[in-house]
């Protein structure tokens, strides 16, 4: 038996659950990062993107664990704490990081601006929320503007 073989023969989500990697106080004390859900932001006609990120009760993780944006630009987030404990939200944004305090059962907003492509982590910067699972990713898809690309023929990619 090897782990590699199990990865191949078992669905990833089932494997995460069976090994206790996707919850609190199972395999380890916290939830392993980026083992949760995946969601895509929606886009308004003006190009501004929107999404909701949420902390579910006693799960100590962000839902979604990975939020995907179609391109760089402005993102408006609804940030919800459904937990019965107090957390916070520290988000990357060009200019300064954005901070939101989240008491139990609260909801707020955040407006951030990100370049693309690339991915960014955000978190709840209190105690060790970040290590327990409250660290999540925002993935920005796309390419750089044409004028910023190298003058050369299309190259092979991995």
């Amino acid at each position: 038996m090897t782990i590699a073989e199990e990865n191949i023969t078992e669905e990833r989500s089932e494997l995460l659950a069976r090994l206790g990697l996707d919850g609190q106080n199972k395999a380890s004390m916290g939830r392993v990062l980026a083992t949760g859900s995946i969601a895509e932001a929606t886009e308004r006609a003006d190009g501004t993107m929107e999404a909701t990120i949420r902390i579910k009760e006693d799960e100590v993780c962000w839902d979604p664990a990975i939020l995907v944006l179609p391109h760089g630009g402005d993102l408006e987030l609804t940030v919800i704490n459904d937990d019965k404990n107090t957390h916070a939200c520290l988000l990357p944004s060009n200019g300064d990081q954005k901070f939101l305090w989240l008491v139990n059962h609260s909801r707020g907003k955040a407006k951030i601006r990100l370049d693309g492509p690339g991915y960014y982590w955000y978190s709840s910067p209190g105690g060790n929320d970040e290590g327990r699972g409250l660290t999540a990713a925002i993935v920005v898809q796309g390419e750089v503007p044409p004028e910023a690309r190298l003058d050369r023929p299309t190259q092979p990619r991995a």
Binding site: P92, D96, Q97, Y120, V144
Partner: protein
């Protein structure tokens, strides 16, 4: 029953939860080309990356001098720190040179950080934090070498290849340009240079097989004025130094990732270029590989390369030539001095690139030999697949990107020297965009190493040497107080007698040095400032100190009142 959510409001700037003032005096409004041309004469300020266009890193300030430097002590410490996750967490470092304008200091950090500080107290005036993707391609850590200032704005680049103009009074973005392709492995770390009404930058990413370029931007709008590639296309001048029927030029490297120097009379910008790609596998790029490992003298108005000199033709050792091209005069002749990674000191006529002489400046060189008249003979290099080859200097060079200084008073160069070897084993690989493209496995020695600050006259004759047990990895500063300041990898910040090399003062900063110190004065009081914090491309520079503690402080020193 549905319980209404508590209204958490809208997220605020993280800096709002700090003691930061949020505003700085408008000291850069009157900085124009004329003031930058005469930057050294404004000795109270440090207006450009090197302190002046000539790259000498020499200050006219002499309040702190050989007679009183023993009394030098910390005036203030700014602790940067960081929160959350970031790219290259294990290796981030200060590599910046602080600029100072009339009592306001501008410092850039890793991961998109920019701080404006009160240069007398160290108090944070404003900050800017660009969001940097966690997965950005960085060959050599999460670093930035500094900023430029002019006309009410500050300018800097980010690891994800963005060029930003900020309002110098509050850090607000005035304009932003994407200047490279992060998917191709491009990034940016250079401190921009303001010349006339433009700004010059260069790209990084030679370890990912990009095609290097140097760019010129309109100071007010950020519109591109010109772009010059440092690797020619087929048919362009220099293309005969690349395989005629291959794709090598498309991935040829030659990046300009350290600030160039400028001669306003000749209207030439002297840009150093980086290694060819793949770094160690020359078999896929037969020829000299122009304009890699070169100085290119460029017309600043057009970007045209007027002349070039290649320090390491067909490089097989990762010997970038990006570091400073110091401009100086001797016997009425306009010259350019360059201490190269390959261990040799070159002096050129900067009007036409004609070589004057070449001399070694480090004890151990066995990769090859360069004669005094410039004839290059390679001797040890990764040639056969899978066969390890050891050579001196290693790929970080006998002097890495960190800068020498030149004193007009003593007419000596002061050089941070690294003496460490490495083993490279050629491992050919196919090219894939965005994936490292070295063509070898490389291991730098973790013992049998040395370093020094060494003084040379303009002919390359060594005059004195201050020795340490590790390679030097930080820039040197020379002042009219007959002092040479330098930081060591083990944290000591020292002042040496510029005429003898005697150590006159030292302070343990708590972490290693890998940046550029500068000096300034406010209300008649001179300060010396140094960003401190061990990190960077340590596996290349001093892997024997990979386990040293990190740090992220800016420390200013002054004499007691």
């Amino acid at each position: 029953m549905t319980v209404e959510y508590v209204d958490a409001g809208e997220a605020i700037d993280h800096s709002a939860l700090s003691s930061m003032a949020g505003v700085a005096p408008a000291v850069t409004n009157d900085i124009d080309y004329e003031r930058l041309l005469n930057a050294r004469s404004e000795s109270q300020n440090w207006l450009t990356y090197y302190g002046a266009y000539d790259g000498q890193r020499y200050s006219l300030l002499d309040q702190i001098n050989t007679g009183n430097v023993s009394k030098l002590s910390p005036a203030w410490i700014f602790q940067a720190g960081h929160s959350g996750q970031m790219a290259a967490t294990s290796t981030y470092a200060f590599e910046a040179c602080p600029l100072v304008v009339d009592g306001v200091m501008y410092v850039t950090g890793w991961d998109g950080w920019f701080w404006a500080l009160d240069a007398v107290t160290g108090k944070e005036l404003w900050r800017y934090k660009h969001a940097i993707p966690f997965d950005v391609s960085l060959c050599c850590s999460n670093v930035n070498r500094g900023c430029a200032v002019a006309k009410g704005k500050v300018f800097f680049v980010t690891p994800n290849a963005q060029l930003l103009a900020l309002d110098a009074t509050n850090g607000d973005v005035v304009w932003q340009k994407t200047i490279g392709d992060v998917r191709a492995g491009e990034s940016a770390s250079i401190a921009p240079t303001v010349i006339k009404d433009t700004l010059i930058t260069g790209s990084a990413g030679g370890e990912f097989g990009v095609r290097g370029h140097i760019d010129c931007w309109d100071l007010e709008t950020g519109e591109q004025r010109w772009r010059t590639y440092t690797v020619p296309k087929p048919g362009e001048p220099g293309s005969e130094t690349w395989p005629a029927d291959g794709e090598a030029w498309q991935r040829g490297g030659g990046n300009h990732w350290v600030t160039g120097t400028y001669d306003p009379e000749l209207n030439l910008y002297y840009a150093g270029t980086g290694n060819p790609a793949p770094d160690f596998d020359g078999g896929v790029r037969e020829g000299d590989n122009l304009y890699t490992d070169s100085v290119v003298a460029m017309d600043v108005d057009t970007g045209e390369i007027k002349w070039h000199y290649q320090f390491t033709p067909h490089d097989l050792w990762d010997y970038d030539s990006t570091m400073e091209m110091t401009l100086f005069e001797r016997d009425g002749k306009k010259l350019l001095g360059h201490f190269d990674k390959n261990g040799y000191f070159f002096v050129l006529d900067r009007t036409n690139g004609e070589l004057q002489h070449v001399t070694p400046f480090v004890d151990r060189i066995d990769w090859g030999v360069i004669t005094r008249d410039g004839k290059v003979t390679p001797r040890k290099y990764p040639d056969k697949e899978g066969e390890p080859v050891h050579f001196y200097p290693g790929p970080a060079g006998a002097k890495e990107w960190t800068h020498a200084a030149y004193s007009r008073k003593t007419e000596l160069f002061y050089v941070p020297v690294a003496d460490v070897g490495a083993t490279a084993t050629r491992r050919r690989r196919e090219f894939k965009e965005g994936i490292p493209y070295w063509g070898a496995g490389v291991q730098v020695d973790i013992d049998n190493m040395a370093g020094s600050v060494s003084a040379f006259d303009t002919y390359g004759e060594e005059k004195w040497r201050w020795r340490i047990d590790y390679p030097m990895a930080a820039s040197v500063l020379a002042t009219a107080g007959d002092l040479v300041f330098a930081g060591t990898p083990t944290g000591e910040f020292v002042a040496l007698d510029a005429r003898t090399g005697e150590k006159l003062w030292e302070f343990q900063c708590g972490s290693g040095h890998h940046s550029s110190c500068s000096t300034y004065s406010v209300d008649g009081k001179q300060f010396v400032v140094v960003p401190v914090g061990w990190g960077g491309w340590l596996e290349g520079i001093v892997p024997g100190l990979l386990g040293q503690g990190h740090g992220s402080a800016v420390i200013a020193f002054a004499l007691p009142d």
